[in-house]
């Protein structure tokens, strides 16, 4: 009887360990996060629109009918990535997600010059190099420093009504992510 009790106590302690192990392992094995979903359909530096049927298994999270988005993956070990989109839209904002799909940085168009979408995402050491000598083409860009090596740039655009459709299509279809290796 005592041995049965001993086994039960051992089981409960084990359950605690299993509970904690599953809890902390779940995020890294998930295939539903934004990183896994985008990397299964798009190569790095290829921009895709998230409002079209590009992602398998449409988003289960609340989706705002007035927001549309496009995104691309990057790897900062290739050098800073230059992200641009043409034209002017009513309002844009962007977030950087790391390779676990967590939001690590957000920015709205208030930060940009003339609300143009022109960003350079880089690591702090790359920022140091760029600061010493700003490469041509980066003159009007907003610099975004991030600690994540691999990540996703996701741009959200507000579409107040359907009359903006063509402007927003131009903007999102024109999203470009270009790696810019430093010397």
């Amino acid at each position: 009887m005592l041995r049965l009790l001993y086994a039960a106590i051992l089981g409960v302690v084990g359950a605690g360990i299993v509970h904690i192990a599953i809890l902390f392992m779940l995020p890294s094995y998930s295939e539903r996060d934004i990183w896994s979903r985008i990397s299964s359909v798009a190569a790095p530096y290829t921009a895709i629109r998230l409002d079209r049927e590009t992602l398998k298994g449409t988003p289960s999270r609340p989706t705002n009918p007035f927001l549309t988005a496009a995104a691309c993956r990057f790897d900062l070990s290739d050098g800073p990535v230059h992200v641009t989109a043409p034209g002017a839209v009513p309002m844009w904002s962007m977030s950087i997600y790391d390779s676990d799909g967590l939001n690590v940085f957000g920015l709205s168009d208030r930060t940009a010059t003339d609300k143009r979408f022109d960003l350079v995402v880089l690591t702090p050491p790359q920022m140091q190099k760029v600061r010493a000598e700003v490469p041509a083409g980066f003159a009007r860009s907003v610099f975004v420093e991030t600690g994540t090596g691999e990540g996703i740039v996701l741009v959200r655009v507000l579409m107040p009504d359907e009359s903006w459709q063509s402007v927003i299509d131009t903007f999102l279809d024109g999203l470009k992510c270009t790696p810019m290796p430093l010397e």
């Binding site: 084990g14 998930s30 289960s60 007035f66 927001l67 904002s93 977030s95 690590v104 959200r156």
Partner: protein, 194 residues
């Protein structure tokens, strides 16, 4: 010998079954930690960031999604009215009160899973701050109803539960909010279709 094997199996079964089961229970049923609440509205500003607690992290990993960053905005959802009754799609509600300052806000009706409700004709169950008729003070009045109504009408259809989702874009609220000062509109039940 056989007794030892059986006891070992029992301990293992309790460990694996209990561990997995308790995680599942916590993720399915337990209320998330770190919610920001104002009247009927709740928000999880830390969801999907590195500041989230392990349970929110795991729940987020299961659900997926791309949450707004703090500089982008903040999302509030309500699945109950101000009196605590769950929101029904065949009822009429009046949303009344102040909206925190934001460059732009949107309000839409979604089903329990978060998908937008089907449109009524060409009218989507969604409004934004530039479609709204404002009163002279900053307060706003929106009627959420399956029946047409004057002024601001958020058209809903169907039956069953729903939630209302208020998204504030580019708002000072999301970067350094004060819970005590946060005032969001009330959701008042007007009546229900039988």
């Amino acid at each position: 010998m056989l007794k030892t094997v059986l006891l070992t199996l029992l301990a293992l079964a309790i460990a694996v079954g209990g561990g997995a089961g308790s995680v599942w229970m916590m993720l399915e049923n337990a209320p998330p930690i770190g919610a920001l609440e104002a009247g009927p509205w709740t928000s999880f500003p830390d969801a999907g960031t590195r500041n989230a607690d392990p349970y929110s992290r795991a729940r987020f990993a299961r659900e997926g999604g791309a949450p707004l960053g703090r500089a982008e905005g903040i999302v509030f959802s309500a699945s109950r009215d101000s009196a605590g009754r769950s929101l029904r799609r065949n009822c009429t509600y009046r949303i009344e009160g102040p909206v925190p300052s934001a460059r732009f806000w949107t309000l839409h009706a979604a089903d329990v899973s978060g998908a937008l409700l089907p449109p009524l004709g060409r009218r989507r169950p969604a409004l934004h701050s530039e479609m709204i008729l404002h009163r002279q003070d900053d307060e706003l009045i929106i009627t959420v109803s399956p029946e047409p109504s004057p002024d601001n009408w958020l058209a809903i259809t169907g039956r069953g539960a729903m939630q209302l989702i208020l998204t504030l874009l580019d708002t000072p609220l999301s970067s350094g909010f004060q819970v005590g000062e946060l005032a969001l509109p009330e959701i008042l039940l007007v009546g229900c279709d039988a």
